[in-house]
C-alpha cells in the first residue's frame, strides 16, 4: 500500500484533522472569543466540504475493507454540506449564555459522527460497517442529551442510546449468521456465497431490522418522535437529515451487494414496509402540534418514500435515492432552519404559536412555505422531481399498486404540510411572534437551502450525473 492509496480516504482524513484542530483551538481561544472560535470551526468544515468537490479516484484499500467510488463521494459531499448548514443554523442557540462554553464539545461530537458515517458509507466489510455505524450512533446519543439541565433532553438521550444498542445487537446477530453460512465478512464474497437457505433469510431479516431502526421505518419508528422532540433542535435536524441519509445509503449497499441473490425476498419485505411506513407516518403527522414532532413524523413518511427507490434494485433506483436525499436535505434543513431561528429567538416550538407569522416575519415564512411545498412535492420546487423519480423507479419494476398507494399518501401529506402554511399566512393572532432579524450564519444557511431547492429542481445535470455514477457502482458489483 502506497501513500497515494491512503489519499483515497481523503474525506475522513481531513475530517479527523479538522476535529483535532478544533479540539486544540477550543483551548486557544479565550472565553470572550467564542464567536471567533465558532467562525473558525465553521470555516474549517467549509474547507473540508469544498475539498470534497474536487475529483477523487475510486478504488479500495485495506484489502477491500474500505471502498470508494463516485457515488460514495457524492453521498459524503451531501453529508458534509448538510453538516455545514446545520452548524450555520446553530449560532442562535450557541450564542445563548449557557451554551457558550460548550461549543467545542458540540463540534467534536458532531464531527466524530460524521467521520463514522464516512467509514460506514465506504465500507466493503462487515467489521468496518459495524465500527462506522457505532461511531455514528454513540456520540449522537450524547448530542441528544446535550441540554443536560432539561429532563426532556436526557429522556431523548436514553431512548436513543438504549434502542441504538438494542438494534445493533440484532444487526450483529444477523451478521453472525451470515458469517456462519459464508465464512467471510466481505460484502462481495458473502454475496456470491449466499444461496437462499432459511438461515440466510433469517440473517437478512435481522440485518434489515437493525438498519430499519436507524432509518426509522415503521414498525421500528417508535423512538423517532420522542428523540426528535427532546433533543436540541439543531441536533434534531442533524438526526433527521444526515443520520437518516447515511443509514438509507448503507442499507442500499448491503441489500444490493450481500443480499443481491435474495432479491425477491427483500422486495416483498420492503413492499409491505413502504405501505405501512408512509400511511402511519402521515396519519400521525396530522395530529401533531409541536413542530419537531410534526417534522419527525413527516420524516418517517419521507423514509417510506425513499424506500421506493430501494425496491427498484437497479442503477436508476440508486440514483433516485441519492437525488431524493439531496433534495430532502435542502427542504428539511430549510424547515428546521426557520423552526430553530424561532426557537432560539422566542423559545416557542408549537405550530399554534406560528399564527400571524407572515404578518411579522414575511421572509422567514416564505422560506418555510418553500420547504413545505418541497416536502409535499409541489411542482416548481425540487421536492416534486425527487418524488417523481422515486415513483418512476418503482413503476419501472411494475409495482403499480404500490405507486398508487404512495401517490394517495402524497395527497394526505399535502393536507398537513399546507396546514402549517395556513397557520402562518391566514390565521390571525392577538400576540404573534414579534419581528426579529436572524443572525448572519442563519441567513447564509437559509439562502443556500432556498437556492438548492430551486436550482436542483431546474437543472437536469445533477440527476444525470447521479445516474452515471450509480451505473459505475453497479457495474463493479
Amino acid at each position: 500500500m502506497s501513500f497515494s492509496d491512503i489519499l483515497l480516504m481523503r474525506n475522513e482524513l481531513l475530517l479527523v484533522a479538522a476535529t483535532v484542530v478544533i479540539l486544540i483551538a477550543d483551548l486557544v481561544f479565550a472565553a470572550d472569543q467564542r464567536k471567533q472560535f465558532y467562525y473558525f470551526s465553521v470555516f474549517l468544515i467549509f474547507i473540508v466540504a469544498i475539498t470534497g468537490l474536487f475529483p477523487s479516484e475510486s478504488g479500495s484499500i485495506f484489502g477491500g475493507m474500505y471502498e470508494t467510488g463516485g457515488l460514495q463521494i457524492m453521498m459524503k459531499n451531501i453529508l458534509n454540506f448538510s453538516t455545514l448548514i446545520v452548524l450555520l443554523q446553530s449560532w442562535g442557540w450557541f450564542s445563548q449564555v449557557k451554551q457558550q462554553k460548550r461549543i467545542g464539545e458540540f463540534m467534536i461530537l458532531l464531527l466524530s459522527t460524521l467521520i463514522g458515517m464516512g467509514y460506514m458509507i465506504s465500507s466493503g466489510h462487515f467489521l468496518m460497517f459495524y465500527l462506522g455505524l457505532e461511531l455514528a450512533t454513540i456520540p449522537l446519543a450524547a448530542l441528544a442529551a446535550y441540554d443536560y439541565y432539561k429532563s426532556k433532553s436526557a429522556e431523548a438521550g436514553i431512548k436513543l442510546i438504549l434502542l441504538a444498542a438494542f438494534s445493533s445487537g440484532i444487526l450483529l446477530f444477523g451478521i453472525s449468521l451470515i458469517y456462519g453460512i459464508t465464512g467471510t465478512l466481505y460484502f462481495g464474497e458473502a454475496g456470491q456465497l449466499i444461496n437462499g437457505s432459511t438461515l440466510s433469510v433469517l440473517g437478512l431479516v435481522l440485518i434489515f431490522t437493525g438498519l430499519s431502526f436507524k432509518v426509522s421505518l415503521v414498525p421500528f419508528h417508535l423512538w423517532t418522535a420522542d428523540v426528535y422532540e427532546g433533543s436540541p433542535i439543531n441536533v434534531t435536524s442533524y438526526l433527521s437529515v444526515v443520520s437518516k441519509g447515511s443509514a438509507v445509503f448503507i442499507m442500499l449497499i448491503v441489500l444490493n451487494t450481500v443480499f443481491a441473490s435474495l432479491n425477491d425476498i427483500w422486495d416483498t419485505l420492503i413492499y409491505t414496509i413502504i405501505i405501512i411506513t408512509i400511511t402511519i407516518g402521515n396519519l400521525f403527522a396530522i395530529r401533531q402540534r409541536n413542530i419537531k414532532r410534526f417534522l419527525a413524523f413527516s420524516s418517517i413518511a419521507q423514509a417510506g418514500f425513499i424506500m421506493l427507490g430501494v425496491i427498484d434494485n437497479s442503477a436508476f433506483g440508486v440514483a433516485t435515492v441519492v437525488y431524493f436525499i439531496l433534495v430532502y436535505m435542502f427542504s428539511n434543513l430549510a424547515a428546521f432552519g426557520v423552526a430553530s431561528a424561532i426557537s432560539a429567538e422566542t423559545g416557542k416550538e408549537s405550530i399554534d404559536d406560528y399564527k400571524g407569522f407572515y404578518g411579522t416575519n414575511p421572509r422567514l415564512s416564505l422560506v418555510m412555505m418553500l420547504a413545505m411545498f418541497s416536502l409535499a412535492g409541489i411542482p416548481p420546487v425540487a421536492g416534486f422531481f425527487g418524488k417523481f423519480f422515486l415513483f418512476t423507479a418503482a413503476a419501472e419494476k411494475g409495482y403499480y399498486i404500490l405507486v398508487l398507494i404512495a401517490v394517495l399518501n402524497t395527497i394526505i401529506s399535502l393536507y398537513y404540510y399546507l396546514l402549517v402554511i395556513k397557520v402562518m399566512f391566514i390565521e390571525k393572532s392577538d400576540s404573534p411572534i414579534q419581528f426579529f432579524s436572524s443572525n448572519l450564519p442563519m441567513k447564509i444557511s437559509l439562502v443556500i437551502c432556498v437556492l438548492g431547492l430551486v436550482i436542483t429542481g431546474f437543472t437536469s445535470g445533477v440527476f444525470d450525473y447521479m445516474v452515471a455514477v450509480s451505473d459505475q457502482l453497479f457495474s463493479s458489483i
Partner: protein
C-alpha cells in the same frame, strides 16, 4: 476436548441467550436491567462468532477479531448510556422507564 461438543449445542445456547436478552429488554422496567439485557444480546453474538470461527473456519481469524471489537464497543456504549442515566437521575430522581414519560404520542 471441545470437539466432543457439537456446534449445534453451542448455537442453541447462544440463541437462547439472545432471546433471553430480547425478552429482558422488552419486560424490564429498570434501565440498568435493560442495559444488562442488551449486553446479553451482544454476548450471544460473541459466542456465535467465536464458535463458528473455531468449528467451521479455523484457518481464518475474522470471527475472533470481530468479537474483540464487539466487546470494546459494548463497553463504550455502556459508558455513554450510564452517563446519560446519571444525568436523568439528577433531573427526575429515578431510572425507572415508567417515570420517563414526559413525551408521548
Amino acid at each position: 476436548m471441545i470437539e466432543d461438543i457439537p456446534l449445534s449445542h453451542i448455537l442453541i445456547v447462544s440463541t437462547l441467550i439472545f432471546f433471553i436478552g430480547v425478552y429482558g429488554f422488552m419486560t424490564r422496567k429498570n434501565m440498568i436491567s435493560m442495559l444488562i439485557s442488551v449486553e446479553l444480546v451482544l454476548n450471544a453474538v460473541n459466542i456465535n462468532f467465536v464458535a463458528i470461527n473455531r468449528y467451521l473456519y479455523p484457518e481464518r481469524l475474522e470471527g475472533h477479531f470481530f468479537t474483540l471489537f464487539v466487546i470494546g464497543i459494548a463497553a463504550a456504549e455502556a459508558a455513554v448510556a450510564i452517563a446519560i442515566f446519571i444525568n436523568l437521575y439528577r433531573n427526575i430522581r429515578s431510572i425507572d422507564v415508567d417515570e420517563v414519560t414526559e413525551m408521548k404520542y
